[in-house]
């Protein structure tokens, strides 16, 4: 039998001035199942809380309703007080008679009637409250960072430097990601590799970081604190443990004319290769599809050249199973394929290139050793046209969003070009110059004012070749007239797009993604580094287009989320979670689809012989956030939400 204590707070005059607390206490005192009904000036004060505790002990109360201010103010206070008096804290509820009653009504009698209704309804709820226990989830203190670009490296280092284990997985043969491809970086024009490669080395040598390159995450199971991850180690055909990275094999490889991915097709590589000279690990892999031996069964030049016998053509992919507590997804981006813009001639004219290719041209370690030379004939271009928003902000052919970095890197390209090719003339077609960021606007001003970048506001309609020149026709919308420029080279500021396999990958990991394939944050403003799946965090451009400082900042933020999770052996969570009644569940699994957190799994119920008797939904307490959308969906009324059960809400309505 319930014995509910009702504590009616005057809140000084805040409540008592409008609500006749004495009448309320009397009426509630006569309510069935109420064991004590008292009023007091300030229940949140120390003596007030003490009186609640005393009343719980003296009357053996089974539940408590504090009629006072909003639960958003003092629910935690009074639940703690109840716990101190030996009552399960979840047996305490707040009836809000201040913000939603005394403060908003003029008529004292009406306010008193309303207060009585509010409290009665809450008493009826509390009668049906359950003694909930916080959920404890054990935490494996080992993080998985997926993606070895700057975001992944930063996250891995931050976590590792705090003393926690990290597994860093990169699918390319080397760490580095896109940042390793860049020449100089805005707005400081420091050399990208000069700042990147030390971080790569640091990550690879860190005692707390296990580096898995040329590896891909195959499967993720489990939940926060307890993920089970399967990683595919792709066959390198080179024994990584014995290889010293001497590079003999690379020098000898007869297959030399392969297009280098790292150089964006502008440079060449061999079939056994490292993507770039500073690769980490600096140990080659064999490109199976283009290796002469794999193709013809003959060659083995590399085998002969290797002094340490590291080449193994029989090598197979291997799988590693990992137990992981938290995951940072930092899988980065790709640049959009500009071939969709036929009118710009990308793919048709060798000297129409994209921004990333320009980076390789401008990079000291690039195929031209940092000289800006035309891909078609190796000549120095006297005039370059840069086209911004080649794909971004273009719902018809490209993407609707702004890629955020292009204004800045185009300004940088114009500057680098001016520094490297004296007298070179640049024209930049732009829609807007978006240079918000520390030192960014100053940077673009410098490009215009010191390096004489010629900004033309308008879109380009067509690029064609004429007399060895690339003719660029566009509009100057400020002057309101068409423009034609003869250029030696055209650089497209290509849109940043998600990795082509981003959506599939999101499904493997179990996180959400938007219409483009960028991964969804749990809340755009308040939880921007968490995915909607507990224990999985996002870093870098896989979430949305970002520059280096933003990627690094988000990576550090993710790392701090991981470290907060790892700060305790067990994760304690509010027990407001869904629970399914497997006996009545029909297994339609609509709840699985409706759950925003992938917290509901499909479960087989087996008999003793292991035969499936029926299939039901099962809520993972580690993932459920307690929204209750599943409960409302459930036609058979099988799923319920602790703390807001169907019985409780029914009683609240019936108690009105």
């Amino acid at each position: 039998m319930s014995k509910i204590g009702v504590f009616i707070c005057h809140c000084g005059e805040n409540i008592a001035a409008k609500v006749d607390c004495t009448r309320v206490a009397e009426v509630l005192g006569d309510h069935p199942g109420v064991g004590a009904s008292v009023e007091y000036k300030y229940f949140c004060s120390d003596p007030g809380q003490e009186s609640v505790k005393r009343a719980i002990r003296e009357n053996n109360l089974t539940g408590v309703v504090v009629a006072a201010c909003s639960p958003r103010m003092h629910e935690a206070t009074f639940r703690k007080a109840c716990a101190e008096a030996g009552l399960n804290p979840y047996m305490c509820e707040i009836a809000n008679i201040r913000e939603q009653c005394s403060w908003v009504h003029n008529d004292g009698e009406q306010a008193t009637d309303k207060a009585i209704d509010i409290i009665r309804s809450m008493v009826e709820k509390v009668k049906r409250n359950n003694m909930l226990q916080p959920i404890e989830v054990p935490v494996t203190r080992r993080a998985l960072v997926i993606g070895g670009g700057i975001a992944g490296i930063q996250a891995a280092l931050d976590i590792a430097n705090a003393g926690q284990e990290v597994v860093l997985v990169e699918r390319e043969p080397s760490l580095g990601g896109h940042m390793a491809q860049l020449s100089e970086t805005f707005p400081t024009l420091d050399c990208s590799q000069c700042i990147m490669t030390p971080r790569m080395v640091e990550a690879s040598q860190h005692p707390k970081i296990r580096l898995l390159t040329y590896a891909e995450v195959e499967h993720v199971d489990g939940y926060i604190g307890n993920f089970k991850v399967k990683v595919r180690m792709k066959a390198r055909y080179v024994n990584k443990d014995t290889c010293t990275g001497c590079g003999e094999c690379i020098t000898k490889c007869p297959q030399k004319k392969l297009s280098s991915e790292f150089d964006c097709g502008i440079g060449k590589r061999t079939a056994i290769y490292t993507p770039f000279a500073q690769a980490v690990p600096n140990k080659p892999v064999i490109d199976k599809d283009n290796c002469t031996y794999f193709k013809n069964g003959k060659c083995k030049v590399c085998v002969k050249s290797c002094p340490l016998d590291c080449i193994d053509f029989e090598m197979q992919d291997e799988f590693i199973d990992l137990e992981i507590g938290a995951i940072v997804v930092a899988t980065g981006f790709q640049v959009q394929n500009n071939a969709v813009y036929g009118e710009y001639g990308y793919g048709k004219y060798a000297d129409v290139i994209n921004g990333l290719q320009f980076e390789r041209l401008a990079s000291a370690s690039g195929p031209t050793s940092g000289k800006i030379l035309r891909p078609s004939d190796g000549k120095e271009p006297e005039n370059i046209v840069f086209i911004q928003c080649a794909g971004s902000r273009d719902p018809s052919k490209g993407v609707k969003y702004c890629s955020k970095i292009c204004c800045m890197y185009t300004a940088k390209h114009a500057m680098l070009y001016a520094h490297k090719v004296h007298g070179g003339k640049s024209n930049i077609f732009y829609m807007d110059i978006r240079a918000a960021g520390k030192g960014y606007d100053e940077f673009t001003r410098r490009a215009i004012e010191e390096d004489e970048a010629g900004y033309v506001r308008g879109r380009v309609s067509k690029v064609w070749q004429e007399n060895g020149k690339l003719m660029v026709r566009g509009a100057d919308t400020l002057l309101g007239r068409p423009v034609e420029v003869a250029a030696d080279m055209v650089v497209l500021a290509t849109a940043m797009v998600p990795q082509p396999d981003a959506k599939d990958f999101a499904k493997v990991v179990g996180i959400g993604y938007d219409e483009y394939g960028f991964f969804n944050e749990a809340h755009l403003k308040l939880r921007p580094v968490e995915s909607s799946t507990a224990g999985i965090y996002l870093a870098g451009a896989c979430q949305s287009p970002k520059d280096i400082p933003d990627s690094v900042a988000q990576a550090s933020a993710s790392a701090s989320k991981v470290l907060a999770l790892f700060s305790k052996e067990k994760l304690e969570r509010e027990p407001v979670i869904a629970v399914n009644n497997e006996a009545t569940c029909a297994g339609c699994w609509g709840c699985v689809l409706a759950c925003p957190y992938n917290a509901i799994e499909k479960k087989d119920i087996l008999d003793r012989s292991g035969k499936v008797i029926k299939r039901v939904a099962s809520v993972n307490p580690g993932l459920c956030q307690g929204c209750g959308t599943c409960v409302t969906f459930c036609r058979s009324n099988s799923i319920d939400l602790a703390g807001f059960t169907e019985k409780q809400i029914f009683a609240e309505v019936m108690g009105l």
Binding site: G29, D30, H31, P32, V34, R120, E124, A583, A651, M654, G655
Partner: protein
């Protein structure tokens, strides 16, 4: 010479009965369905249908009925008993199978204690049945040792005249005679011939069926599964049946007050025998169908010496999957030979 009630006098009869303080009830068609309902005048009566879609039992055993009101106070629960409505009434135009159904259920409602909800109504109701001159393929009263002009359960039996202009009146009980006193002057003495009653062929041998059902060996027979494989477990047969009498008791209300109600229940429902533990002794639909047949033709007659079926055929007539007692008992008849 017999008493005759002519149709054109019926309106006057209704008026007389009403002014004598009786509420008059009879088959009324409304919203695509015919059921026994109060009538204001003879024009409301729908007497041409073979039988009303809904049975007569709901006039004595409504589908939902308050038994008790309660209010919850701090230290006590106050209760107040609900009794059925009082006042004499006359049901005009019942079918003999419906009237028989009531007589079949009387011992059930009175064997251990008198169910006042049932008997208060029974004692205040005069039942005037009209013998059937029409039947359909679902009628099976004759297989239950009843007939289209059975008098069982009726206070007065009317036999339609050959001319269709009225009925021969046969007063069966004191209660019937009493009610017809009020309209005595509207009756005519005459010799007009009654129309022949409907011919309802015998469809099964109920005695043989009962015997087969009593044989314990047949309880687990494969027959039950085969005969009921298409049963979807709805309760329409039980709810339309004039003799099915199972009910459930439910409390409905809010925090402060509520009503305890008696509601129809059906052995066709999976939940009917479901235990709180989740175990269900009648876990299959075939077990539920077997229970229904066993109850009507074995257990009930064992206790009350009559089959719990008056042969109205509604179970089959309305079955969404074309099942029913007729087919089952026909098959059992075959098995028992």
């Amino acid at each position: 010479m017999t008493k005759i009630l002519y149709t054109d006098k019926l309106d006057n009869c209704v008026e007389r009965w009403r002014s004598a303080g009786l509420s008059v009830i009879g088959p009324v068609r409304n919203a695509n369905i015919t059921a026994y309902r109060p009538v204001g005048s003879a024009a409301d009566l729908e007497l041409s249908q073979i039988l009303p879609d809904r049975s007569i039992k709901e006039l004595f055993f409504p589908q939902t009925e308050p038994m008790m009101r309660y209010s919850i106070k701090k230290d006590a629960i106050n209760t107040e008993e609900c009794l059925p409505p009082v006042g004499p009434r006359i049901i005009f135009g019942a079918r003999p199978c419906d009237a028989s159904g009531l007589a079949i259920d009387d011992p059930l409602f009175g064997w251990d204690y008198k169910d006042e909800y049932w008997f208060n109504r029974r004692n205040e109701t005069v039942i005037v049945s009209i013998a059937c001159t029409k039947s359909d393929e679902f009628c099976m009263c004759t297989s239950l040792k009843l007939s289209p002009d059975s008098t069982k359960g009726s206070d007065v039996l009317l036999r339609p005249l050959e001319s269709g202009k009225g009925w021969q009146v046969e007063e069966l009980t004191d209660r019937g005679r009493e009610a017809f006193k009020a309209i005595a002057e509207l009756l005519t003495e005459g010799a007009e011939a009654a129309a022949p009653t409907a011919v309802v062929a015998e469809k099964f041998d109920a005695d043989a069926c009962s015997e087969w059902l009593r044989n314990p060996e047949n309880f687990e027979s494969r027959f039950w599964k085969e005969i009921s494989v298409r049963c979807i477990g709805c309760g329409s047969c039980t709810y339309l049946c004039p003799t099915c009498h199972c009910f459930d008791i439910q409390d409905e209300g809010d925090t402060f007050t509520g009503i305890r109600r008696k509601n129809w229940d059906s052995c066709s429902f999976a939940l009917f025998t479901m235990h709180t533990s989740g175990h269900n002794p009648r876990s299959t639909q075939s077990a539920r169908w077997r229970q229904r047949i066993m109850h009507k033709f074995n257990y009930f007659p064992g206790k009350f010496s009559a089959n719990s079926c008056s042969g109205c055929g509604r179970c089959t007539r309305q079955c969404p999957v074309d099942m029913g007692i007729t087919e089952t008992l026909q098959e059992i008849s075959k098995l028992s030979q």
